[in-house]
Symmetry: C2
Subunit: 140 residues, 2 copies
């Protein structure tokens, strides 16, 4: 039994080729892939998996907390493996690059704000839209 199979079993999912392959792609590739990114990787690897299955499997993985889905913007959702380390995201509006970060101070403040309003914080979504800082020093 290969690596990854255990996670699937634990989630109550049969160990099928599409699931193993998709999990593998998520492990190997860049973080933050769209369903289509994954689908194209599968095609590339000559795997005969339909896009519908990719969506279905990703939804199951999300329920099983194996992956997290984000809607950074309008447009397609992106998925990333849940490696157990909670973090937020910064997206460069020029390059599209995604940077992860974690700030426990911000986390604490969020909890406090929710409580101040009589609520319990379940989850949150924080995305910073940034651009590379212009270096004003080297204008020759």
């Amino acid at each position: 039994m290969k690596r990854g199979d255990k996670e699937l079993k634990k989630a109550g999912l049969k160990v099928t080729l599409p699931r193993v392959k998709i999990l593998h792609i998520l492990e190997q590739s860049e973080l933050h892939m769209t369903a289509e990114d994954i689908y194209l990787k599968l095609i590339d690897a000559e795997e005969d998996v339909g896009i519908a299955t990719v969506y279905r499997v990703l939804a199951q993985f999300e329920s099983a907390r194996l992956v997290n889905r984000h809607n950074f913007d309008s447009g397609p959702a992106v998925y990333e493996l849940d490696r157990g380390d909670h973090h937020d995201h910064m997206v460069c509006s020029e390059t599209g690059k995604v940077i992860e970060f974690h700030d426990s101070e911000i986390e604490k403040l969020q909890k406090k704000i929710a409580e101040k309003h009589g609520y319990e914080l379940i989850d949150h979504s924080l995305v910073l839209f940034v651009r590379e800082r212009k270096k004003l020093t080297n204008l020759s």
Copy 2:
């Protein structure tokens, strides 16, 4: 010339019935309406405006910074009038209620984090998903 017309002119938009009506609805109604919410209000008011126009006008309003669009989740985007007061949102997962809040400490931290990574903060999106706090005191 009625209230609101000036904003439209300033944005370089002709003062047309759909634009005036939509602006009016955004001013009068609850914050955070979907394009369809607005469309239904227009139908209700016997105005003969198409949903395509609602989307087009909202996009123009967004460019003109008269409104802000949010994608709280998957599903339809919501729009709110830009009243000049920046704030973030808290969504109750049980009732769907949206609460606005502002925390300058969090804002400051975001700016600092972006800069620490060599970026300039342009914008951000912060949504807290919450639920009503269970009162554990009155279990009879």
